[in-house]
Every structure is written in structure tokens, then in C-alpha cells.
Symmetry: none
DNA sequence: TCGCTTTTGACCATTCCTGACCTTATAAGA
DNA sequence: TCTTATAAGGTCAGGAATGGTCAAAAGCGA
């Protein structure tokens, strides 16, 4: 059985593809079409269409209200650099996964690189240290790997 | 009477056979089907479906959570597997470099993979922890990455 | 007995879903 | 215009559904 969140996310993704990266939805309408409560839409948006993941969300309440989701795309190298800079000193497994997933979606990472880097960053490799240290190591490694990919990718 | 772990392992094995090397289970469900506590599933997975043994395990918590187990061993990869098994719990940067270099020479790693993995394992990524921990982390990561390369190499 | 493997349960972390209540925008009436 | 109704969307906390971890206890073979 498919998860509601996945249904909603898929719907939005498809819409983004169709509409060339710029989708507009009506929250209540979509909710009732897909058979969920309206706040579910917010949940999906806040968990899967974050700026971190490369989306801009605008909305308006009241009569004629809407939610607009825009997929951000810019020059690959610049964006890559920006992402690398934004990683910071520490990053959780979930965050890292989100960032990588988005990079793949945006064709900034091949499936191959995505899997390799995901593996390198997954918690599985860090059982020897505490969560805190783990997240710091992950951030360092993530940046190194992304830089490496960038340099090799000509 | 058969040991519980064996039952669980057999079940997963059978599922892997059926599903062509890619099985997805629900931890709690399987546990109650087989009549054991959920953490037993974790025990079996961590003790018998490790990267060293040729398996990749991914999971997700929360509603609709799952555990996915992928088998990556095939005859072509016996040598690779052997190397992975020989890595042990801890490996220095120099040792790792030697092993990787050797694998590259033997065309078991592409230049690309060699560079990626070297980057991931280099001391540069581990400044946050002591040498001792560092070598343990490196070993874990190295094995995971090699398994991933193996899996992707079709 | 000693040491390794297995089993178990208490407690933790993450993800998802829902509903009550809140804020804002537009339209209709007075 | 001012007020009130209606139409959206937003927030948040709580609960449910999962899987993860860890250490203690139990089992077992040498």
C-alpha cells in the first residue's frame, strides 16, 4: 500500500515536470482529490519540498488562494558549489540524504554517484562514534566527495 | 529445534531468492509471523546480512517503514568479496591506499571509483576523531563502498 | 568454566497522519 | 465605507506506526 505522503509528493512532482518546474495547487482541492486532510499537503511540502531540497514555495490565503511550488534550477557548478558551502560543519543522515536526493533529481549527480555517496554517508559506516561526531564526520566527508565528483565531472 | 536466527535468516534468504536478490520486509510483521521479538530481526540482519557477506541493507522508520535487503554476491565478484573480507575492523590510510591501488591495477576498480573511494577514506575527512577511531571508521566505510561499487558494477 | 552466540525487552528516533484552532484575503451587505 | 461572512491556506501538538540500539540474561560448545 502506497503511503499518502508519497502520493502527494508524486502528484506534485509530476505537476512540476509537466509545468516545467512551476506548479500551482489548491490545497483543499488537492487534499480532497487525493483523499487526505489538507494539512497533509503542508506536511509533504514542508518535509519534501524545502529550500534545502531546491524548492521555493509561495502561497496565498483567502478566496482564490493557492500554493505555488517552484523547482530551482541554475548552473550546475554554481549550484554544486553553493550546496557544498551550505553543508556546514555537521549534517544528519536524513539531511544529507535529502540533499543528495535532490541533487540527483536535478541531474547534478548521476545515479551512480548518488549511490556511492549515499553509501559513504549512511549511518551504517559510523557506528563507532557518537551521533554528534558522526554528523561532523559526515559533513566533512560529504564536502570532500562532492568536490571530488565536481572535479572529475568534465 | 531450529534456532530462531536460522528461521529468520532462512526466511530472508528464501525471499531474496524469490525476489531476485531484492527483498523488502516489515520488521514487526515478520517478527510476529515468525514468533520472535522485533529486535531479533535486527540481530539476524546485523550478524548475517552484512556488507562483508555481500548484502546491502536500507531501512526507513515511521509509518510505512521497511527494511530492504539486497544481495550483491555473484560469482564474478568472488575476488572482490575476498578482499573486502580481508579488510578487518580497522585499516590505516596507507594500508587502504595500498589495497585500493592494487585493486585499480587489477582493473577491479575504475580510475573514477578509485579516486572517489580514496577521497572518502583519506585522513582529511576524519579530523574530528582520534587515529584509533579513524581507522575503524575507515575500515567500515571502505567495505561499504566496495560493496556498493560491486553492486553497481553490472 | 570460559567465551561466543542468541534472545529479549526497555527505551529511543523517525516518519506519517489528523484535527482543532489560527490567520489572511475576498466578497457581500448595511 | 465599515462590518460581516466566506474561502482559502498555516500551525502545532498529539498519537500512531515503524524501525534502531543496547545491555542484560540465557544458551551452548570447547
Amino acid at each position: 500500500m502506497m503511503k499518502m505522503s508519497d502520493l502527494v509528493a508524486d502528484y506534485i512532482m509530476k505537476l512540476l515536470d509537466e509545468k516545467d518546474g512551476n506548479a500551482e495547487i489548491k490545497r483543499n482541492e488537492l487534499a480532497s482529490d487525493l483523499g487526505c486532510v489538507p494539512s497533509q499537503i503542508n506536511y509533504v511540502i514542508t518535509s519534501r519540498f524545502t529550500p534545502e531540497q531546491g524548492y521555493i514555495v509561495e502561497s496565498r490565503r483567502g478566496g482564490g488562494g493557492y500554493i505555488r511550488i517552484t523547482r530551482v534550477t541554475t548552473d550546475k557548478r554554481v549550484v554544486m558549489m553553493h550546496i557544498i558551502n551550505s553543508v556546514g560543519d555537521s549534517i544528519s543522515s536524513a539531511e544529507a540524504g535529502a540533499v543528495l536526493g535532490n541533487m540527483r533529481e536535478r541531474h547534478m549527480l548521476s545515479d551512480y554517484d548518488y549511490l556511492m555517496i549515499s553509501t559513504a554517508l549512511s549511518d551504517k559506516s559510523y557506528t563507532a562514534v557518537t551521533q554528534n561526531v558522526r554528523d561532523r564526520l559526515r559533513a566533512a566527508l560529504m564536502k570532500n566527495l562532492l568536490v571530488t565528483v565536481m572535479m572529475l565531472d568534465q
